[in-house]
Symmetry: C2
Subunit: 378 residues, 2 copies
């Protein structure tokens, strides 16, 4: 129940361990086609250029930036947590200039500030932002931000690592141009793969590039030769075949459950967890309107020792919760309710264990009432 990787379902682990076949085997090519189709469903898009990058989310982020940002480009980057900072690094390593729009950690992106940035930098080529900030548990208004990019003739790059499968990710509805994600959060697949999707305007920008993409491995024109279209698949790199079995299975599970049902499940267990935490006397960091159901930022109660509590949860209950990051380090915990791990069982386990460990360490809480409060919320 940390900020990810989340618990992987036995069904996905079973798929992962199937015998490895060749990355150009006809059976594997068929599986690749199914993965693309399932990603269209998960992302709610018809974008042809939708595929899993064979590396973690950080590489998916880099794939978006190196394909769309060229030296001299101005990129407006929203930062309200850790991952906006990483986007800035990416822009600069592509030779671009990052114009930072900063909000406090724990707050969503302020649309008015982004609007002002576009007024100041009307030729900005890209707007980059994080839909669901894993470092703070905040969601921002992706639809409004993508619209703002389009209105200003800029491309949007959207981080959906923590959102896909947990809350509504609607690439076509938003009009998002480039989106990357991760497998290890609400998809409950093993970490190491980053699904990406590029819309028509982004594809046109890639096709009209003047210089080659600085990364050979992440050059989407080359990757598409392997993943794309109806033509013969050209060898680009050796795909992580077994990880693709797992991704396929996890996406199939999402489709079987249905997107809306998955979102509702995350919301239901989130509500119960919050009811329990608040009954215990703990307070949430993020305003209700912007909270991610899958990642719960809770303030440490008086008298709690951050590291000691997390160590006790791990050693006594095999339960991982995440530390706060950046401005929230030592002040908040990050409790994940992601994918397969988002269950009544885990809500009850987490509340019971926290109650026990905090009481034993003498923190100021209302002991013995959290589980009942959570159950009452169902």
């Amino acid at each position: 129940m940390g900020p990810g990787p989340s618990d992987v379902s036995p069904r996905v682990l079973e798929a992962l361990g199937r015998p490895t076949i060749g990355h150009l085997d006809p059976e594997f090519v068929g599986l690749m086609d199914e993965i693309k189709s399932l990603l269209h469903y998960a992302f709610q898009t018809n974008n042809e250029l939708t595929l899993p990058v064979s590396a973690p989310g950080s590489a998916g982020m880099e794939a978006c930036f190196v394909n769309l940002v060229s030296p001299g480009d101005t990129v407006i980057v929203c930062q309200n947590g850790v991952f906006g900072g990483r986007m800035k690094e990416n822009v600069e390593r592509c030779g671009g200039t990052a114009v930072m729009v900063e909000d406090e950690w724990g707050q969503p992106i302020d649309i008015a500030k982004v609007k002002a940035a576009f007024e100041q930098y009307p030729t900005a080529k890209v707007l980059a932002f994080v839909h669901a900030e894993t470092s703070t548990g905040v969601q921002s208004d992706a639809k409004a931000l993508c619209q703002l990019a389009t209105d200003n003739h800029a491309l949007s790059i959207v981080d959906t690592v923590t959102s896909v499968g947990g809350i509504n990710v609607d690439i076509d509805g938003w009009g998002a141009d480039a989106v990357y994600s991760g497998t290890q959060k609400c998809l409950s697949c093993v970490p190491g793969i980053s699904p990406v999707s590029f819309g028509p305007r982004a594809v046109a920008a890639i096709q009209n590039r003047e210089h080659k993409v600085q990364s050979w491995f992440l050059d989407m024109q080359l990757v598409m030769g392997y993943w794309g279209g109806n033509t013969k698949r050209a060898y680009h790199h050796t795909a992580p075949v077994n990880a693709m079995y797992a991704l396929h299975e996890s996406l199939l599970m999402l489709k079987e459950e249905g997107l809306e049902n998955a979102w509702q499940r995350h919301q239901t267990h989130h509500d119960a967890l919050v009811a329990g935490l608040e009954a215990m006397g703990l307070s949430m960091v993020v305003d209700k309107a912007h909270r991610l159901p899958q990642l719960n930022l809770v303030n440490l109660p008086e008298g709690a020792d951050d590291a000691a509590v997390r160590a006790a949860l791990l050693s006594e209950y095999s339960l991982e919760i995440g530390a706060g990051l950046g401005a929230l380090a030592g002040k908040a915990w990050r409790i994940g309710l992601m994918g397969h791990a988002c269950s009544k069982k885990n809500v009850v386990l987490c509340l019971s264990a926290l109650d026990n460990v905090l009481s034993a360490q003498g923190a100021k809480i209302n002991s013995g009432v959290a589980v009942a409060a959570a159950l009452a919320s169902y």
Copy 2:
């Protein structure tokens, strides 16, 4: 029995499917330390900066180039197959100039030509070459090439994707500066991870860089914060936890067998396969002195239809062999004997199946003698 991914042993698949834990979990950090130690053994090196890149071999290649090549640098690139061409792409995308030293496909790198290139470009910063060319089944003299680089105050970048675990890879003995590899060949681990190692001269070059590495994901100074030393592990990216379980298990198996025993096993079964193929009347593409035991390039016999034979092997025998690439496309097959798949059972299966399929298709071979010839060689 293609050119990789090779068959993965059940023991490695079992490890792969273990429950996912956090990438900063103390248990996982312990596993990371063991992986580093096992890589030191497999690569025969004491290089501190030895770790698995969380992406396929193509990304391991790129990690070496982006960290060591800066705009304006001259790099001597040896090309005697597909992967030298990919190195050229990498150099150019780093803003460097690639000086190509070309040899025929199926021939090893000619040391005299490399010497001449250094005479013509005495300030070349890097010499890059492939130890074991997966596209042609040829090995080149890595020790002599690394020495030539050192003599000319250049850094060596060495591709050992297909060699490690199958033939002698001796980073410290060679004095190699930067080496990348893959998990999916003679280590018989699942594809998707690229072990790399950087020696002291390469580390110094990285530390003295004037500009940031163009890839955030592959920036070794950042990656080291997660994988390195005795200090607290800093989050860089989410490691592909399950793939690391598998890599750990495959490296452990290599250590249990012993490097020399593993090399001998590859040589023994290679000798038997060649005896069988030659008895059948087929000829090898590569001279005996430069053949890779783990990747056997064999000329198509008269009357054989490349694609039809490979399709029949796959559908009738579940047996994959590789097509020829580049200059060898349609003219040769690539038969892998890698890692777990390098066994007497596979030698006999391959010869029997080839004999049967080629006979059925009316190719000119000596039928019915290959298996006996192979068995006589043991």
